[in-house]
């Protein structure tokens, strides 16, 4: 049986991921929290806006920082999910190929309220194209700042690159410990994956599109 994203999404949604009396959601081997998207957006785009106003020569560095947050987030969050008890129970029984890990992860993400992800293209070990509808980052930019001149989904882009790096660079299928050393080894590799957003709701596009490919050494 190949991975059916819908079944994964329904199973994760059925877990009733809600905060306990500590305000935490222990799930996927992680401590999750429910967080206001507007709050994250305000911090992210407030930071970027401050750079653009005060230190415009460092705008690209600010974008790199926000994208790096996505790399780190995906390494621990996606990585943690893919070695978790929940993954073993819900997704693993459907996995037949390495590419099914990507489909399974998209099924999980679609239960988390980040927007609607759709796998448009996956060339093994080479290229991933994701479509996102209602990205909370793009929606936050539109709501708070108006139409953007550039794509703005930095966390999602970093996350998409991280997914490919986990699978084809770090081989998450072997369940390596998700250490800082592994992070630097995987993401610091000259041929590791990086993402670029080619369409963005914040720019007036109907949806966001992220393309992930290997860097050239």
């Amino acid at each position: 049986m190949a991975v059916d994203e819908r079944i994964v999404t329904e199973a994760v949604a059925g877990l009733e991921l809600k905060g306990n009396e500590e305000g935490l959601i222990p799930a996927f081997g992680l401590y999750l929290t429910k967080h206001f998207a507007d709050y994250y957006n305000r911090i992210s785009y407030g930071l970027l806006g401050a750079f653009i106003r005060e230190l415009p020569e460092l705008e690209e560095d600010a974008i790199a920082l926000l994208t790096e947050a996505g790399h780190v987030c995906s390494f621990h969050t996606f990585g943690g999910i893919m070695v978790s008890v929940e993954w073993d129970a819900v997704v693993m029984p459907m996995i037949e190929t390495r590419e099914d890990w990507v489909k399974g992860m998209i099924g999980v993400v679609n239960a988390l309220g980040w927007g609607r992800y759709r796998l448009q293209e996956l060339v093994p070990n080479e290229r991933l194209v994701l479509q996102m509808s209602d990205s909370y980052e793009a929606a936050g930019v539109l709501e708070g700042y108006g139409k953007a001149a550039h794509p703005r989904c930095y966390l999602a882009s970093g996350g998409a690159a991280g997914l490919m790096n986990l699978l084809y660079q770090g081989d998450i299928t072997k369940r390596p410990p998700l250490t800082d050393e592994l992070y630097h080894e995987v993401f610091g590799h000259p041929r590791s994956f990086r993402a670029r957003e080619t369409r963005c709701l914040a720019m007036g596009d109907s949806h966001c599109e992220i393309i992930v490919e290997r860097q050239h050494a």
Binding site: E21, E22, G29, V85, E86, D88, A89, V90, L178
Partner: protein
């Protein structure tokens, strides 16, 4: 020295050097392997695995400790103020996450108690 004057470096010295996810201990209770990992200064996470699926009798045993939610392939025992146990029975795998309000010694004691029961159920099967 007045209270809260200076932090005492000897307190929690050993645990303070650990990072999230670091393995503290690996031990077996019968046929069950238990991995104890550092979560924070006041709690550890415990993961246990068996060579085969957990028997249905284990779920029935857990149900006596509190209400269980989830499905046949993935269920959760959540006891407020105490712990959460997430179980993938077919994969023979479970994760125990204690609450911060519990003591480290208590956390390990409960794990040993539950895993010992599981080992008995596995032996019967």
């Amino acid at each position: 020295m007045a209270e809260l004057d200076e932090p005492n470096p000897e307190i929690n010295q050993a645990r303070g050097a650990l990072c999230y996810g670091d393995t503290i201990d690996v031990f077996h209770i019968g046929r069950i392997k238990v991995v104890q990992r550092y979560a924070c200064i006041r709690r550890d996470q415990f993961e246990w695995t068996a060579d085969g699926p957990f028997p249905p009798s284990f779920r029935e045993y857990l149900a006596q400790r509190g209400s269980i939610r989830g499905s046949a392939v993935l269920y959760i025992l959540d006891i407020p103020e105490k712990f959460q146990l997430t179980v993938a029975p077919n994969a023979g795998r479970a994760v125990f996450v204690p609450r911060l309000s519990t003591e480290l010694e208590w956390q390990k004691k409960v794990v040993i108690e539950i895993v010992s029961a599981l080992d008995e159920f596995v032996r019967i099967v």
